[in-house]
């Protein structure tokens, strides 16, 4: 009997974390109890075994209940919202809170409301500040996994709960969720950050005003953006924790826009504009040396570079053939080719490309009847699909799960950030005040 190799390897990793608690300094202390070993013949295609069989594309019913951990209702609420916003579950909120403290869950109650999975919060043995999160298979009536969230009610608690929600998504689907991420965006020329659930809105002090086109480094510790200072518009790399700043060499002159880090963090692509047009350059961030020119536009504009996941190709916008269109090229500037040609008359300018984390798709916005709409292009087939249709929708950015896209939309009357699940089409607003734009989604972040 094969018990699902991927699962057991993961257990070994998590056991190692338990053996060396210093590694788990980042609030989240995941100690997995021995989940009941369930016999299984094979891992179903696209699915992972956690007691129930998860099939990609389906959304199992899930209830998040308080269980014995009374006093942790805020944790329950955050978990429930995170799991709902993962768009991987049909989150069910049954009337009342079934189950009495100290009791094993009455699985029949949850079966009756259509749940496949149940998440409960239990008091952690001998620790008043910690809470144990348990995942149950409702159909089989068994506890599948458990993890302890240390400091659940403390300062770093919210982020620890987000990390736990992402773990639950991984337990069920094989890939972590995106609750422990945040976004940068621009409002009134200022940089702001907001957590993926819309909480934690805070300004980020930039080098000048206006500051535009923020972007994240691969490790989430640095950001890059362009800022207007008195004598230039440089690209600035900023350490989020220390605030220390670096001006990308050569960007002291001219117009410098649309920075993006390569996925390995070693390089930064950006566009540099002069009187002779705008071209794409790459700065070797890791070596802190050397700026290489990739395009020679000759009075055309080449901008908005976005890296493929392996760092070998860069997609970008070019006006070399007239209106802005989507192109791609090798990372040394060779082999440029138009990637998503628009239908003249039906659709127009293309801008704001963002390459998905899995490399399979490119999101961008394109004019339809004079109004930008978000599209996604399948890199393998070059097929283009329109994702939006109400109001102006532009500047998409991918979540690290490769299925959620944040973009700017006027669908509610003011310019705000919205999040779309590309797989289900579900949309939710992220910001509430008007004027937000140029969003950039972070990688998964270990701590707040």
């Amino acid at each position: 009997m094969n018990s699902g190799r991927g699962r057991w390897r993961e257990d070994a990793e998590l056991t190692a974390v338990r053996a060396a608690p210093s590694l788990a300094a980042a609030a989240l202390l995941v100690c997995l109890a021995a989940a009941p070993a369930r016999a299984q013949d094979s891992i179903p295609p696209g699915g992972v075994r956690v007691g129930i069989t998860y099939t990609a594309g389906t959304r199992p019913g899930l209830v998040v209940a308080l269980g014995t951990a009374v006093g942790f209702d805020s944790v329950r609420a955050i978990l429930e919202r995170d799991l709902d916003q993962s768009d991987q579950f049909e989150v069910i909120t049954p009337p009342g809170t079934p189950g009495r403290p100290g009791d094993a869950p009455d699985y029949r109650v949850y079966r009756a409301v259509g749940a496949d999975l149940l998440v409960t919060l239990a008091t952690a043995e001998g620790r008043s500040d910690a809470v144990e999160v348990q995942l149950h298979d409702v159909r089989r009536g068994s506890l599948v996994r458990r993890a302890t969230v240390a400091d659940a009610g403390g300062a770093g608690g919210r982020w620890a709960v987000h990390r736990t929600a992402d773990e639950i998504v991984r337990w069920v689907t094989g890939r972590p969720g995106i609750a422990a991420t945040r976004l940068l965006f621009v409002q009134n020329g200022q940089l702001w950050r907001v957590d993926a659930d819309g909480a934690g809105l805070a300004p980020v002090r930039a080098a000048g005003w206006p500051a535009l086109s923020p972007t994240w480094s691969a490790d989430g510790r640095h950001i890059a953006y362009m800022a207007y200072v008195r004598s230039g518009q440089p690209i600035v790399i900023q350490d989020l924790e220390s605030g220390e700043r670096e001006v990308v060499p050569t960007t002291e002159y001219g117009l410098n826009i649309t920075p993006e880090f390569s996925r390995d963090g070693a390089r930064l692509a950006f566009a540099h504009g002069t009187e002779a047009g705008t071209d794409i350059f790459v700065y070797e961030v890791a070596r802190r040396c050397c700026v290489t020119r990739l395009t020679v536009g000759r009075f055309s504009d080449n901008l908005s570079p976005t890296w493929g996941p392996d760092g070998r190709r860069i997609a970008y916008i070019s006006t070399r053939a007239g209106a802005p269109q989507l192109y791609w090229m090798d990372a040394d500037g060779s082999d440029p080719e138009v990637l998503g040609r628009f239908d003249f008359g039906a659709t127009g300018q293309t801008n704001g490309p963002a390459w998905s984390p899995d490399g399979q798709s490119l999101a961008f916005h394109r004019d339809v009847g004079g109004t930008p709409q978000v599209f996604v292009l399948d890199v393998a087939t070059r097929a283009v699909r329109q994702l939006t249709g109400t109001g102006r929708n532009e500047d998409p950015t991918w979540a690290p799960d490769g299925r959620h896209v944040c973009f700017v939309s006027t669908r509610s009357g003011t310019r705000q950030l919205w999040v779309l699940d590309v797989e289900t089409g579900r949309v939710r607003p992220l910001t509430m005040s008007g004027g937000a734009r140029l969003p950039a989604w972070s990688p998964r972040l270990a701590s707040q």
């Binding site: 080098a207 230039g232 050397c290 700026v291 908005s304 300018q349 532009e394």
Partner: protein, 236 residues
């Protein structure tokens, strides 16, 4: 700009290798009219490219006044070299200043400079020019306005200006920055082609960041697609 560059407390993070090539780099930039050049910069490449660029700028100077240039080739070349050295020094100071400003959170606005012009000329010089949707070519009205500015610049040889390109809100935010740059560059190119020294005109793009008219109508958009002209060095 005129302030002595402040050495910030935090380490200036220009890489050593970039520092080493900076003088050549700047010379190259100055000679070619700004901006990084193709390929990784190496001293030898910069050397030959700078020499080539110098030849170009000499040739350009020669074209501007062909009769005089033939007779005075040596002195023109010497002047061009002196000009490019002076410009290299200015650009180096500017790079230091940008880095210092970034550390110190200095934002975009600088104090207005007194033009020293009579009021009619001052109005003429700062008159806006406008562009068609998603275009950066000059209209007939723009050319006429630039011709009037040309006469003022010719009559006041100390005067230096900045041209700022702007866009309406309809295009993509980031594309509009490039479009605004092209709009500013178009006006500058016209003035330079008509004899104004390149060094007297700097350009800047604000994209759609600073609308003149905050409205969302065709009329507002028409007013927002513009170049603004401001004085950076006064006439007297």
């Amino acid at each position: 700009m005129n302030d002595k560059p402040v050495r910030p407390r935090v380490r200036l993070s220009v890489p050593t290798c970039a520092r080493a090539v900076l003088p050549l780099w700047v010379l190259l930039v100055a000679a070619c009219g700004g901006g990084p050049q193709p390929g990784a910069v190496t001293p030898s490449a910069a050397d030959s490219a700078a020499a080539a660029a110098r030849r170009d700028s000499v040739a350009a100077a020669a074209r501007r006044d062909s009769v005089a240039a033939l007779a005075q080739r040596d002195s023109v070349a010497a002047a061009a070299r002196a000009d490019s050295v002076a410009r290299a020094a200015r650009e180096t100071a500017r790079a230091d200043s940008v880095r210092a400003q970034v550390q110190a959170n200095v934002t975009g606005e600088s104090a207005p400079v007194r033009s020293g012009l009579d009021s009619a000329s001052a109005v003429e010089l700062s008159a806006l020019i406008f562009f068609d949707l998603d275009r950066s070519d000059l209209t007939g009205a723009s050319v006429a306005a630039l011709d009037r500015k040309l006469r003022i610049l010719q009559a006041n040889p100390r005067l230096a200006i900045q041209i700022a390109g702007h866009c309406d809100e309809r295009g993509s935010d980031e594309y509009n920055l490039a479009l605004g740059e092209r709009r500013a560059a178009a006006a500058k190119r016209y003035l330079v082609e008509h004899g104004i020294a390149e060094g007297r005109i700097s350009i800047l793009s604000y994209g759609e960041e600073r609308p003149l008219d905050p409205g969302h109508t065709e009329e507002s958009w028409t007013r927002n697609r513009r170049d603004e002209f401001s004085v950076t060095v006064g006439a007297r």
